[in-house]
Symmetry: C2
């Protein structure tokens, strides 16, 4: 790809992640305009071929596609508010971290100012940008995503989730909850096994196998949730709860942290108290779907 055919892109926000995004576009031959509140952060990118716009408004005008990657949605809105007149006809892709309500609000505001708007979430660390490992989620109008899919593909593995602008944020935090949960369960197990002198390296393959195995159950279990019916085909929740008590007791007996085991048991106990002891694990969706007062 060369400068004659590649879509010009603008990157606003040159933190670690913004700089990684700009570098990926430069490397792929896209005319790349950059802007940052602290201008010096553009220096290395300019040396690599980027154009530093003097103002955010100039940056927005320089390309048909602008990627926003700033501190938070408040910074996004301040920046857009000050340049509302420059937005008509442009496409904004907001990769700033925030929540689903902020994404929907910002989408509404941008559309009112004549911009096309996609909200996104980067499930990767800056060094992974530009490789297939970097998963970048997008939500908003599908036509706007498809128009820029190949350009965005320079950044990593791009995924389209749906028209609701809040989806990228929701999938992002849901995926992170899975990531930290696998890591925490592994740390719980590692801590338990360390009390018997077992190395973390000796335990890790076992934990990996269980995590990968249970991951395979999820699509089947999802059917129970979508059907709203939880027959105990494999195991009943009250049987699980007895094993949860063993996990709590063992954690306490060997002197490791027992908070995660206790939370696991508390969620199940509440569901059993609500009459679901004879049903299967996914019935806990009812507990996960409502706040707990306590």
């Amino acid at each position: 790809m060369n400068h004659d055919t590649a879509t010009p892109v603008t990157i606003i926000g040159l933190g670690l992640m913004g700089r990684a995004l700009a570098e990926a576009f430069l490397k792929a031959g896209h005319p790349t305009t950059v802007w940052n509140r602290t201008a010096a952060k553009a220096d290395r990118l300019v040396a690599a071929g980027a154009l530093a716009a003097p103002t955010a408004g100039d940056a927005l005008k320089a390309s048909p596609l602008t990627i926003l990657c700033v501190t938070d949605y408040r910074a996004v809105r301040e920046l857009l508010d000050a340049n509302g007149g420059e937005l008509a006809g442009t496409t904004l892709i907001n990769l700033t971290s925030g929540d689903s309500a902020q994404a929907r609000d910002t989408a509404r505001w941008a559309e009112q100012h004549g911009a096309r708007y996609l909200d996104g979430a980067i499930m990767a660390v800056p060094p992974a940008i530009g490789t297939a490992e970097a998963v970048i989620l997008h939500s908003g109008p599908q036509a706007d995503f498809e128009a820029h899919r190949s350009t965005l593909g320079v950044l990593g593995t791009v995924t389209y989730l749906g028209a609701d602008h809040g989806l990228a944020s929701l999938y992002d935090v849901a995926g992170l909850a899975m990531m930290w949960s696998v890591l925490n369960a592994w740390l719980q197990g590692t801590a338990l096994l360390k009390t018997a002198g077992v190395d973390a390296a000796a335990y890790a393959p076992f934990a990996r196998q269980i995590a990968a195995g249970v991951a395979e159950w999820l699509p089947g279990y999802a059917e129970q949730i979508d059907n709203g019916s939880f027959p105990a085909e494999v195991s009943a929740l009250e049987t699980d709860a007895r094993a949860m008590a063993h996990l709590v007791e063992e954690s306490e007996a060997v002197g490791v942290n027992a908070e995660l085991p206790k939370l696991i048991k508390a969620m199940a106990d509440r569901s059993i108290a609500a009459g679901h002891g004879g049903e299967q694990y996914p019935v806990l969706i009812e507990e996960f779907s409502r706040p707990h007062a306590g």
Copy 2:
């Protein structure tokens, strides 16, 4: 295999799981003796070819290998205490659920009475017994395990963990913690996405991919734990904590349960407060390895 060559086995305890164990041995052609406090539970097994021993002592004497699968370790000890004279030279495999201290105590007692003793844990539901899906963990003297490995293989995929009799219980609860954590993280994500009208079936493949992907990191992360050194090669804990705040806020904003997100963040916050904000996630092993007062 036929009755002339297959090792005779005894099963004590004929709950759902004990009956499944006995059925697997009968199907594989092992002379199978059974005993249960409530004798009627043996009826179907006797019809299928099992021998019902009149007393637990007779059951222990009937085979060189006895598998115990009763309610708890208290029941194990009552049963063995009453039959201490029958134990010399026999091999006991205790698949009763319990903790690592109970396993070690019972091993010591059994060995003092002249028995060989392995402690085990069944990571499967009764209908899986007799298939490769049923993983059965064993710990205790390796020679005793090897002597009966092929007989035990009738029950499922048998694994030997080490000489410490407590290992089977510890691996068991550690694996269960992983199982419930993957399921709970998936339920958290499913609850979050449901607020945007996304079906559980639509979200499940994404959750599966994240869980399986993170599982692959564990052996590498284990090296950091075994080395006691946690350089932030991929991401620093304080960066993770900002994303954890998004998870908590999003969960609260859309009205789903936030206990799991809050626990994830609390563990990281404590580690950051202890000075580890610039290190990588596995440094949390220090938090997981000690009880939390509160």
